[in-house]
Subunit: 358 residues, 2 copies
Amino acid sequence: MASGRTNFSSHEFPMASGASPFSYRTNSAYQRRVVRATKQLMHAVVMEKLQVENGSIFQITDMGCSIGPNTFISVKNIVESVELKFKLMNTQKKHIQVLFNDHAYNDFNTLFASLPSDKSYYAHAAIGSFYDRVFPDKSIHIVNCSYGLHFLSRVPNNVENRESVAWNKGKVYYSHSKEEVISEYSKQYEKDMECFLNARAQEVVPGGLVFITVPARPNGTPHSKVIYNMLADILGSCFLHLVKQGDIEEEEVDSFNIPVYITSPIEVEEAIKRNGSFSIEKLEILSKETSPINGLTAKDASVHIRAITEGLIEEKFGTKILDKLFELHAQKLEDAYLDLISGEAISLFIALKRKKNL
Amino acid sequence: MASGRTNFSSHEFPMASGASPFSYRTNSAYQRRVVRATKQLMHAVVMEKLQVENGSIFQITDMGCSIGPNTFISVKNIVESVELKFKLMNTQKKHIQVLFNDHAYNDFNTLFASLPSDKSYYAHAAIGSFYDRVFPDKSIHIVNCSYGLHFLSRVPNNVENRESVAWNKGKVYYSHSKEEVISEYSKQYEKDMECFLNARAQEVVPGGLVFITVPARPNGTPHSKVIYNMLADILGSCFLHLVKQGDIEEEEVDSFNIPVYITSPIEVEEAIKRNGSFSIEKLEILSKETSPINGLTAKDASVHIRAITEGLIEEKFGTKILDKLFELHAQKLEDAYLDLISGEAISLFIALKRKKNL
């Protein structure tokens, strides 16, 4: 890759690029199942709730698009629904513009090289974090953000602060940690959701839609019983294993944390209501069958976790420990497999509509 | 690079990517001089001619942006002028959106990694050839195309057709070739300009501006006396040298042509008038001092030609001949240096305004 991959800061969280055997591209199959499961839900919301106003340009953005191919499937689903809606409503001719959004360090070269040749929209890329403003005021009609909002904008400050009660010593994730650590992660999630919703509230036209899909934790289920979290926890134990073997220092592990948070339906709902700019048109829980891990072998699950954490680990520890770490990880997942598959693995689909008057 | 560089077809003409020592990025210094020279011209046109209408979004595109940094300089110049104009006219608050345009195979990763951090605009990328439609109807306020329109959309058909009188046997470029070959190149240029102007006529708002900067041939000067062409002609003689040495086959050279055409003021003017959608607000000849080759050593000039032709040559001949070919090229340029610097090397700056009523 020509881009300065080593320059990204932790809050930018790039996926492994297209060329890597551990790339997001080759390991996003389970997310594709979620994309398919949400197709009918999005279609229904577009048909029933989308308010089409005058203007010849209709802008759709897929935020946190990564490098494909899932973004193309999501976008195709939305575009087809929108075109059908235009047809039924007999609207003036509209040009559909799709803005693929991700960080500057996303591998856009791979994305662009695989743009569908038969697309019926103008394809653009929009650079920036979805926790910030990315578009002008009232310029976007539909936002899709699929499997993006569990990535926090940053590691919560205090969990890497030795002086804090929330210091996450000996761990790299929150779900098996003390209450103070969990609380810091959940507060960071609240802040990030507020930033996301606030930015979108300004960018989306009144009556416009926001679709969010995220992996989630059922209300009341402990963080430690969510499969996604269990995979990360086991990765944490692998880091400690490498400390014992002298491959890395304990201090390095103490100051490394994965900025991911798995929300629950109630937390999402609260965040949206607190923000106040959107009405909730749909909030559906997608079953485990449509969701992470289902059908994945231990090895596959490990490769998936590698695809989304490799960049961060490399930044902190260099490349030297990667293979050993993930060999160990795959082995431990194998050993814990029965435990793992008893965990929870739902996803949430939420459809929001920008309120007209605030 | 993660993208399928070997897949591009000749009409896509990618620059060498950011990582290469022969990259466009490190060899675009002379184009930067042109960008600087056009700054004042663009500023004057924006202040005098731009008609600012209602609407809160103002869209600027740099077409054929390549990988930077020149695109950032051009864009900054235009944005500064536009912001000043808004201020003086006391317009409603406007959001400036900049759409960096190039082929899907451009190295956008490098471009995005070096986006200025202090930019005052929303940065997007728009994928596609500027010879086709890239944007919705009436959505763009200012188009800039700097050093892009001398790249033809394709090699003219007949120059690689053995049955045609325009077959360009033993050559890789038109400027030292027979009249029929020159004519095919010039007809292709006319077609391409019509495609460019036609697409822009639909995309640019009435009263919107199009800035074009291209290397050019003074009216009446033979094609063979233009430095840009002389550099390409000498490259052609290097190919023949490699044929003699048995490195490549003569047939390969016969079926390889560089799709570049150096226009003249009169040709540009005719193309614009023939199209009919734009008024010419400015047509300035930039002197040799601001332009290609000036101040470049033979070695630098060779590296520059390599940056813009390497992708094409590699596609046809593979990578094996590249180093030898360009060593020879640098040597021949050295030998021909006095001849070379006596050639012509102007650039043209043209400012167009989209007519209101057609």
